[in-house]
Symmetry: C2
Subunit: 306 residues, 2 copies
Amino acid sequence: MSAGFDLSAWSTDRLARVEQALSLWVPEGAPAGLGGAMRYAVLDGGKRLRPLLVMAAAEALASDAANEQRAQIHAAALRSACAVELIHAYSLVHDDLPCMDNDVLRRGKPTVHVAYGEAMALLAGDALQALAFELLTPDDGSIPPAIQAKLCRLLARAAGFDGMAGGQAIDLASVGVALTEGELSTMHRLKTGALLQGSVMMGLASADAPALAQQALATYGAAVGLAFQVVDDILDVTADSATLGKTAGKDAAQDKPTYVSLLGLPAASAYAQKLLTQALDALAGSGLSNTLALHALANMVVNRSH
Amino acid sequence: MSAGFDLSAWSTDRLARVEQALSLWVPEGAPAGLGGAMRYAVLDGGKRLRPLLVMAAAEALASDAANEQRAQIHAAALRSACAVELIHAYSLVHDDLPCMDNDVLRRGKPTVHVAYGEAMALLAGDALQALAFELLTPDDGSIPPAIQAKLCRLLARAAGFDGMAGGQAIDLASVGVALTEGELSTMHRLKTGALLQGSVMMGLASADAPALAQQALATYGAAVGLAFQVVDDILDVTADSATLGKTAGKDAAQDKPTYVSLLGLPAASAYAQKLLTQALDALAGSGLSNTLALHALANMVVNRSH
């Protein structure tokens, strides 16, 4: 189905737009060095998987939409893509703080608190979260208010107590604890899955999507979100640090429960492939005519080497 | 104008609704102790000035509204009142962290990080910010989507880089630095003023308010917001710790610039009264027929003893 689709070229093109928008919207001029810390946390880094999921879902929607709806879909998608990346970036800044993971390097650069101090890192994270919601609510007429409200709802839920923040709380409590597969999957469904699934759903919320497509993409997003984590756990064991761009073997060293520690490597790999099949089956049943980018992204998440 | 208006009885009644709503909406069941930390940070504490400003502005609007609009105004106001308080509460939790003010007591109780650990305090603050936007975007039909979008916009701007978080960054950078009155006022306009003014504007955004009322209440909110800080600076010098419920003389001890250190006590007091006059003049010209609660709240902010 994704034959002939060049994910690399597609990603490069879409991410150029996202990077340009982020550079425009994350304010250089925020007071007293705050803007510098916010930009340092967000710009020039990361795989940008969440923005790509937003753009892919929005493009699937746009393909079947009336011409006059497309500009709005693309405007909403670009803002959503930036908003989910701001939430992701703030979570990394706060995660890296000494009271959490105490990481000094991220994407090969000193972490925000190393570069700007802990207090400024804390504030930059807080300001990035607020900015995410500000980006979703422009008053320039580019996005209908009902779409804005829906995007804010999806993002708030994905980021909050029943999403990312809740998953991080479980993660905090789980170090050195023997989790069942159900508990591990709840943790990851919230910690990383909610925002990945939320990204897909926000892309689809750029205009009113048919209920069938919404259900199908919720399934796709949940499967891809969980697969992302299973593959992360696998790569933590099988890849070396240079390939990963971060310290390999860290989970085991920190005695964190993982899919590999729970299921073993072969079963974890089989599980990732099963989730990929679920995701692709959901796409096939979505009623959307152009799911090439979503298809290719799911493949990439599961079959990546870093 | 506020003759015969019983602010104490009004506040007690309105805050009972806000407390009940907060207790319902700040989730006990959030995972792995997160709910407990969030509730500890929010419930049973504080003057609740921000929710009261929301309610007072919404009631001024409701008095002149058609009967069938009132239920929507009250629903939006209650959610906005809770949302601004969640933002305020999260900012206190993060402010109290060791890397910021390192406070161990707040409202007579151990601060969140003392009670729950630093990592959980960080997460609870993050989750409270997300929850504020979740409260503003219910999908139960109680608030029109266009109102939801506007409320999210106002709150995101008040909380973000050009509001509370920006003001905190200036505050961080200002310890031991000689600020001009203009710089000091910019800091406070952002740090506390933006959310206080935002509270008023969110109350007024519970339905479409006339442009005249919006302009007038923006002026009122800015004046009350700044007056709040000037009076805080005065009380830090003139009140004792028991009356304040927090450590008096702390600003001077930390070498923080204040209106009293900049203007002297008599001029600071005169400035607070001038701001009160500005706020009341704005109300008088708002075109709103019932501004009793807004009037009384402005008086209270300026003439309080703690």
